[in-house]
Amino acid sequence: MNNFADGRLAVNIGDIYLKNPVIMCSGTFGSGLEYNEIYETQIIGAVVTKSFSLKPMEGNKPPRLCETSSGLLNSIGLQNEGIEFFIQDQLPFVKKLKISPILSILGTSSLEFAELASKIIKIEHELIAVELNLSCPNVNKGGITLGSIPDSVEEVTSIVRKTLNIPVIVKLSPNNDNLIEIAKRAKSGGAACVSLINTLIGMAIDINTFKPKLGNVIGGLSGPAIKPVALAKIFSLYKAEVLPIIGMGGIFSWEDAIEFMLAGASAVGLGTVNFVEYDAAINIINGLIDFISKNNLNNISDITGKVKAGQ
């Protein structure tokens, strides 16, 4: 195994400092504890925990998974044991294993986010950042997700930002076409950076039973199938020069990671790949190190946004 402490991998994303730009995506890596049985998850730049809500959430009715061509549809429904579980039961182990945690939090209103933030105050020094998952439908606003409403994005971000002293990341959905506006409002709210893309809305139907293959009818599409879409979204946001970007969506190899950085990502998120290549992070970090050496880079961030796309 290579020396992952290679300083040329260290990146700053807004005011977030990471020893390397490889991040585990929310919902695909637990809090890094299970995977630590496979390899030392402390090597990872940061682990975004699954999204925790105030109260435990039971999640959606199964089936929750459906494989598609080069993609995965899921409708987990954000099943989680609630924020207190993370704070009391998981964080001690996360600390012990020296995992670098980014806590993903999930609410249906700014009030809920405020409450979540206040619960985090006492542990914020243990966290690298918090990530706001705004994909939960807001009951007051007719079931539209908070993340699609510019005002809500700014409001939630600024509430969390003011309550906490650690950087705030806003996770963006690719299902709205006001990406740049949303990112701007995240910035106004004080976000350090944005992460994108979350899953694309998708569906599959069992032609024998006529039933949707997901209990929840629709779900989120992830994996290599969505990579070209993710790259285009990241590239367009990068050009708008709003905030630094953590890029994700179908990254499976170090080559993919480079592609995302060239498109404009300052760091990369690994999601679905964790289910397929359990030690993807190791291979990708090693690949980045080799790439740095071969290309004589001072730092991996030298390539961020460097796609040659001006005619």
Binding site: I38, S69, G223
Partner: protein
């Protein structure tokens, strides 16, 4: 649980659409227990269709040869890929996974194993392990047709009592295994029960046990489509009910695949 690579020792067709793959893996042999499974990569690197790994129960373990084997039915692209592999090829898998069945070191108990179709796969290793510890094992299994005659031959070597059924009468008695159980339930009141098979079969079993007020432990091995295989994604859940009558979604890959039948809610 470990991410492993293992050399394929053999990969043979043993019945129509059914294959047996034997893999060299000292780690698995040392650590796995009946009812556990492995999550196997079923495509070449950089080929992402099929995308997900495929879970397969441990069918047999041969300690002397440091090999374990799986029995697989050709269903779609993942199993077609497995079929294309040859001895000497290396497969990439994670295992052993799931809670599995701990076989007591000293024991002299009675076990009833009930299998349906491909659900018999994990029961072979279980029966073998139970017999090794001198338990009393009866195996009842039901099939559509006579595709599982190879399985009867394997079971015979274990020298346990068994009864096979087939829907078309081409193998064993004509009939279905749940009917058999329904009629003979009183003979098995003091047996510990393990079952594995299609969801409808497990549902019937649960009903039979309830109806007959069976007090002894009855377990089943469940299947769900999986992504991570290690309890992280919460994708492979089934609905269960706890002692306070509260519904909980539990993961088949980590909380299971073994569940007490009475805790599972069939919908």
């Amino acid at each position: 649980m470990k991410a492993l690579k293992g050399e394929i020792i053999s990969n043979d067709k043993i019945s129509e659409n059914i294959y047996k793959m034997t893999v060299f893996s000292p780690y698995m042999v040392k650590h796995c227990i009946p009812g556990q499974f492995v999550n196997i990569k079923c495509s070449e690197s950089t080929v992402y269709d099929p995308l997900l790994r495929r879970p397969f129960s441990i069918y047999d373990v041969e300690e002397g040869f440091k090999v374990f084997s799986i029995l697989y039915l050709i269903k779609g692209k993942g199993t077609k890929y497995l079929k294309s592999l040859e001895p000497g090829d290396v497969i990439d898998f994670l295992g052993p996974l799931g809670n599995g069945i701990k076989v007591d070191d000293k024991s002299d108990k009675k076990y009833l194993l009930i299998g349906g179709g491909m659900g018999v796969a994990p029961l072979f290793y279980l029966a073998k392990s139970l017999i090794l510890k001198k338990n009393n094992v009866f195996l009842a299994a039901g099939f559509k047709d006579n595709k599982f005659i190879f399985f009867e031959k394997a079971i015979q070597l274990l020298k346990i009592n068994y009864q096979f059924f087939s829907e078309d009468g081409s193998h064993g008695a004509k009939g279905i295994v749940t009917d058999f159980l329904n009629n003979h339930i009183d003979e098995y009141r003091d047996y510990t029960i393990y079952s594995c098979g299609p969801s409808e079969m497990l549902k019937s079993l649960k009903e039979i046990f309830l109806r007959n007020n069976i007090k002894n432990k009855a377990y089943a091995l469940f299947e769900e489509i999986m992504a991570c295989g290690i309890g992280v994604c919460k994708g492979c859940v089934i609905k269960t009910i706890d002692k306070d009558n509260k519904y909980i979604y539990k993961t088949v890959c980590k909380d299971g695949p073994l569940f007490e039948l009475k805790e599972v809610v069939f919908e």
